[in-house]
């Protein structure tokens, strides 16, 4: 299936940059392209955001378009919903996904249901950017991976980039979408670098996965940080096991076709996502594959994730619970 929009004209140039820069570039391009777009959140202005993702934008676009808020997630998430319903395109930054709980009423009952409840009469072009994941010793209230919650809720589109390129392309599509889109950024990835298209029309359709590396023996469907780790692992295993690595990219809608096509070829599936294992993203991916490629499977599907616990503070404990390439390797070993 076609996954990325080819640039309409001109040579497709790329530049090596970090995930952080790719996201900032996406915002800059969309702020330039559309006056209705504005960024809102805690300390996104002069401070530049705690992860420095919005750094410098206030100097270019001013305080009206890069808008600092008081620490009131429910208030400004709600304001973004109201603003979106009345003709603007807010890009909301929630510093840590863990804080989504603070404003979940506005997300669940207002943002997600608005269009449907009102008979399709309103648009809800809100983008919510938030950070997820452990690895920084940030402890339980700042390390969660919550994307399953929101991907599960009808009315919300949820994406989670696994490469710098995906970070740019997905965010641009999110901002251009007339529906609520949540972009879950893994904070351990902000420094990760890669080639990113400079074309201002480069976008990635929401709801598409990408085969990042082809292989024959086993499919690893990964998200966020685990995409890079799985790609490195695939390199390591080359010659021994041929691993196909897919960046899931979009949690909802889910690109079942790409998954099924891959499993039809390899016959084996490992799902690697840094979220709790029960009732989650893993389960959804597994179910889609079972429903559509059951007879292609040569071995039980394997899940790699967090063992239904919170992310602890101590490095000794955090390292224990966070999934990484070794866990993916162990999962492959169990079925290949």
């Amino acid at each position: 299936m076609s996954t990325e929009s080819a640039p309409s004209s001109g040579p497709s140039q790329t530049e090596e940059m970090t995930v952080r820069e790719a996201i900032r570039l996406a915002m800059r391009e969309e702020l330039d392209r559309d006056d209705d777009v504005f960024v809102i959140g805690e300390d996104v202005g002069e401070f530049g955001g705690v992860f420095e993702v919005t750094s410098g934008l206030v100097d270019e676009y001013g305080e009206d378009r890069i808008r600092d808020t008081p620490i009131s997630e429910a208030g400004f998430m709600g304001a973004a919903v109201g603003a979106a319903a009345t003709g603007t395109r807010p890009v909301v930054e929630i510093m840590f996904a863990d804080f989504l709980g603070v404003c979940s009423e506005q997300i669940i009952n207002q943002m997600a249901k608005n269009r449907y409840m009102f008979g399709g009469k309103t648009e809800m072009p809100v983008t919510v950017r938030t950070t997820e994941g452990g690895g920084m010793g940030a402890a339980s209230q700042h390390s969660g991976t919550l994307h399953t919650w929101f991907a599960h809720f009808p009315g919300i589109i949820a994406v989670a980039p696994g490469t710098p390129r995906a970070a740019k392309g997905l965010l641009k599509s999110a901002i251009r979408s007339d529906d609520p889109v949540f972009v879950f950024e893994n904070k351990a990835m902000y420094e990760q670098t890669g080639e990113v298209p400079l074309d201002e029309d480069y976008t990635i359709p929401l709801g598409t996965a990408k085969v990042e590396r082809e292989g024959d023996d086993v499919t690893v469907v990964a998200t966020q940080r685990l995409v890079g780790e799985s790609l490195d692992l695939a390199d390591e295993l080359a010659g021994e096991t041929s691993v196909e690595v897919i960046d899931l990219r979009s949690l909802y809608p889910l690109d079942t076709d790409t998954l099924v096509e891959s499993v039809n070829k390899t016959g084996r599936l490992v799902i690697a996502d840094e979220s709790p294992l029960s009732y989650g993203t893993h389960a959804e991916v597994a179910t889609r594959v079972m429903e559509n490629a059951f007879f292609s499977l040569d071995a039980p599907i394997q899940r790699v994730g967090v063992a239904d616990v919170h992310i602890p503070f101590s490095p000794a404990l955090e390292e224990e619970v966070l999934p990484d390439a070794d866990d993916v390797k162990a999962a492959i070993d169990r079925i290949v």
Partner: protein, 344 residues
Amino acid sequence: MVAINIETEDGQKEALRRMLTIRAFDTKAGELFGDGELPGFVHLYIGEEAVGVGACAALEEDDYITSTHRGHGHCIAKGLDLERMMAELYGKANGYCNGKGGSMHIADVDAGMLGANGIVGAGPPLATGAALTSQVKGEDTVALAFFGDGAVAQGQIHEAINLAATWNLPAVFLVENNQFGEGTPVEKQHNLQNLSETAEAYNIPGFTVDGMDVTAVFEAVKEARKRAVDREGPTFIEADTYRYRGHFEGDQQPYRTDEDIDLWKENDAIESFKERLIDAGTITESEFEEMEADISAQVEEAAKNAKEADYPDPNEAYDDMFNATVPEIDGFAQQMRTDGGEDR
């Protein structure tokens, strides 16, 4: 920690000692963080010592406090142990939360310290709950919530104050106005002259006190505590103060200048209290130096021990989720172990 009477000389010395301890502890924590010794984020309380100490001094041992992400000072003021605090900052097994919590989540429920908190504004509802327990059980305990000026913008604190006011609960709401919520100045977050005006909406008393003056904070909280135990309901206190360090260690602080900080330092809570005590003959310069050296040795010792202490066994990562045993967690834990980890 037992209430101390700041009207007595011993009480004054004790208050000074606690303020110094907080400063020494947090100075050390900042150093350790800078040296890459501590994982995670560290938010220091330096500059705000008079608020935590003045407030906790006015509380009785069984009273409750709720804290914030900037909680080390509250812990020390409430009498928590430096060694176990340091161990928690390091993520060691003997820390207050066995390494699961870290700087932002130190708690000691037995000591009435209901937890530092990583969620801005989450403490006041917890304090309202603790005050409710006290009322329901007919106890004489009081619950005090520490929270920042930034937290005053959070809806849940208003719900908490409204409940406490409506139900006449023995609660004290103490906002530490250190002038910033992260990098945003208080004027950009609130359309109020004084945050204590908030109290009017709930028909409870509201005061603004000098948060650089430990005695002023003590007296305000003591009065509020008296109202609470006399069943006269909650009080809202704003303490004006300043944090000398960045929001977190490593913050570049584009939002203020060194001159701004120096202006507040002229009125440093510890310096001015010390001078007052020396002028009054309560303490001599050399006694003060002795006190400082003693505290510094304690803090160094705590840091050294914490550094040498053991990390928790990785298997403990799967403990404490539920009271009951959940087979999934054990099963998943087993599946996820790649180091050939032994059975539990």
